[in-house]
């Protein structure tokens, strides 16, 4: 049902964890529908220097979280905002149709974290 890439990211997820003094944190999803994704960012010179995630969810949720962190690492914030849920799913060689829902969270969580960072910058 899942592609090899999905299984690889599920089995060996990249960038799992928290960043204690994160510059931006984004969380999407809710426990009712079975998935929560939380992304932590460390930003330097408008670039994503470090990124970590924590996810409650199915195989697809974990794999997309892992993939989005890999894709975003090192990108400028504007570049990172260009990442879409679809691109994440494609990078994983696709997801089963009934799982497109989860893939719709990873990029959203990243964007939420970037917004959180920018919001803090503004108010600072």
């Amino acid at each position: 049902m899942y592609s090899e890439k999905v299984m690889d990211h599920f089995t060996n997820p990249r960038n799992v964890g928290e960043i204690p003094d994160a510059d931006g944190v984004g969380q999407v999803g809710n426990p009712t529908c079975g998935d929560i994704m939380k992304i932590y960012l460390k930003i330097k010179d408008d670039r994503i220097e470090d990124i970590k995630f924590k996810t409650f969810g199915c195989g697809a949720a974990i794999a997309t979280s892992s993939m989005v962190t890999e894709m975003a690492r090192g990108k400028t914030l504007d570049e990172a905002l260009q990442l879409s849920n679809k691109m994440v799913a494609e990078a994983l060689d696709g997801l089963p149709p009934q799982k497109m829902h989860c893939s719709n969270l990873a990029a959203d969580a990243l964007h939420a974290a970037i917004e959180d960072y920018r919001g803090k910058q503004k108010s600072a």
Binding site: Q27, P31, K54, F56, C58, Q98
Partner: protein
């Protein structure tokens, strides 16, 4: 890779002795039991012998046994048949919140066709209360349908008591015994039921064959299939002789081995439960602590989600399920666990381990060795606040 199959509530392997019978009836005794000739008569004889075996296994008369294509068809046929034929007497149906979708969706469909439906709640163990049933019956009630044992968490309902009540009130009573048959005693008189559903592939018979028991004289009629006069006008379509013969043999074996096998499995089940509890922690065993199937463990692991556990177990060769196999692919967690008052996020973290005849203590121990690091890894990834 070591493979452990812990998903017998989803489906079972066919017993090799049963599969061999099936093979013989496909290649040698292949006649249509409706046919007059030698090939047909051989098939007819085998079908009627199978009917007798099934009848004996549930304490029924062979004439009360109808062969169907499976549990879903039996449930639909039972409920639709009673509702349609008794429409002039009343339009109220009582069921429970923890039924299989084959019952629940059939009743709900009737709800859209002018029937009033009462869906009874359950307690935290998933139990229906007999008092609730009594309070729900009105003079418009034509059918009560409550399952014998639940497929997701294994709770056994007080069917005999509900049946007694239904009989006193003159209301027809159907039970879905798909999960209970072969595991706990299923006797139509002891249970006071008028209709009862069974599915072959849950007790080492093949998929695609089931049984509907209908008590003699019950106000029920076949209303789903129109066609030939098979099964004494109660199920049109060429009889699935190989499936029927296989189900008959499997029913006989199930009845003969039930007690011993249930005792053996409940030891394994309890070893699983205790092992999970002591080695993992932050878990919730779901279903009734005593009134439960001997072969089923249902447990919620806090802070993590079911599918990721299943995938991880699968990579270690262990086959389990989360809730009902039928509902995978849906975003909603199990309606059964929610009905028991289990919060959404915990319900998402449920898995079901259902044991069967080839499972051993070594299988249980393998699971207990493999599972703790899986849970640990997933919990380390979880963003939920952990106590």
């Amino acid at each position: 890779m070591r493979r452990v199959y812990f998903d017998h509530s989803a489906t079972t392997p066919v017993d090799p002795a049963v599969a061999e019978e099936m093979y013989r009836f496909m290649t040698e005794t292949y006649g249509n039991p409706t046919s007059l000739h030698y090939f047909g008569r051989q098939a007819r004889k085998a079908v009627e012998e199978a009917r007798e075996k099934v009848a004996a296994a549930i304490g029924a008369d062979p004439k009360e046994i109808i062969f169907t294509s499976g549990g879903t068809e039996s449930d639909n046929m039972a409920i639709h048949g009673v509702a349609t034929i008794n429409r002039n007497r009343g339009n109220h149906i009582i069921t429970s919140a923890v039924e299989h979708h084959a019952v629940l969706n059939t009743v709900k469909a009737l709800g859209k066709q002018g029937f009033t439906v009462t869906i009874l709640p359950v307690d935290k163990y998933g139990m229906v209360s007999v008092e609730d049933v009594a309070a729900a019956i009105t003079d418009k009630t034509v059918l009560i349908t409550i399952m014998h044992a639940n497929n997701e968490m294994g709770t056994i309902q007080p069917i005999a008591e509900i049946g007694k009540l239904a009989r006193e009130k003159g209301v027809l009573f159907h039970t879905d015994a798909v999960q209970s048959f072969g595991k706990i005693p299923v006797n139509v008189d002891a249970l006071n039921v008028d209709l009862l559903s069974i599915s072959g592939h849950k007790f080492y018979a093949p998929k695609g064959i089931g049984v509907l028991y209908v008590r003699k004289g019950a106000r029920w009629r076949q209303t789903l299939f129109h066609g030939g006069a098979q099964e004494r006008l109660r199920r049109a379509g060429t009889e699935n002789t190989p499936g029927i013969v296989a189900l008959g043999k499997a029913a006989e074996l199930a009845a003969a081995n039930r007690e011993e096998e249930a005792a053996r499995l409940s030891v394994l089940r309890d070893r699983l439960i205790e092992g999970i509890d002591s080695r993992i922690g932050d878990v919730l065993l779901t279903g009734h602590p005593e009134k439960r199937l001997p072969n089923l463990v249902s447990v919620c692991f806090k802070y993590i989600e079911g599918e990721s556990m299943l995938l991880s177990l699968d990579m270690q060769g262990i086959a389990a399920s989360s809730g009902s196999a039928c509902t995978s692919g849906s975003l909603e967690p199990s309606h059964v666990l929610l009905a028991m008052g289990i919060p959404h996020e915990m319900a998402h973290g449920s898995i079901r381990l259902s044991l069967g005849k080839d499972n051993t203590e070594a299988d249980v121990d393998y699971f207990l060795e493999v599972m703790p690091p899986i849970v640990e890894r997933l919990r380390a990834m979880s963003p939920l606040d952990q106590e």
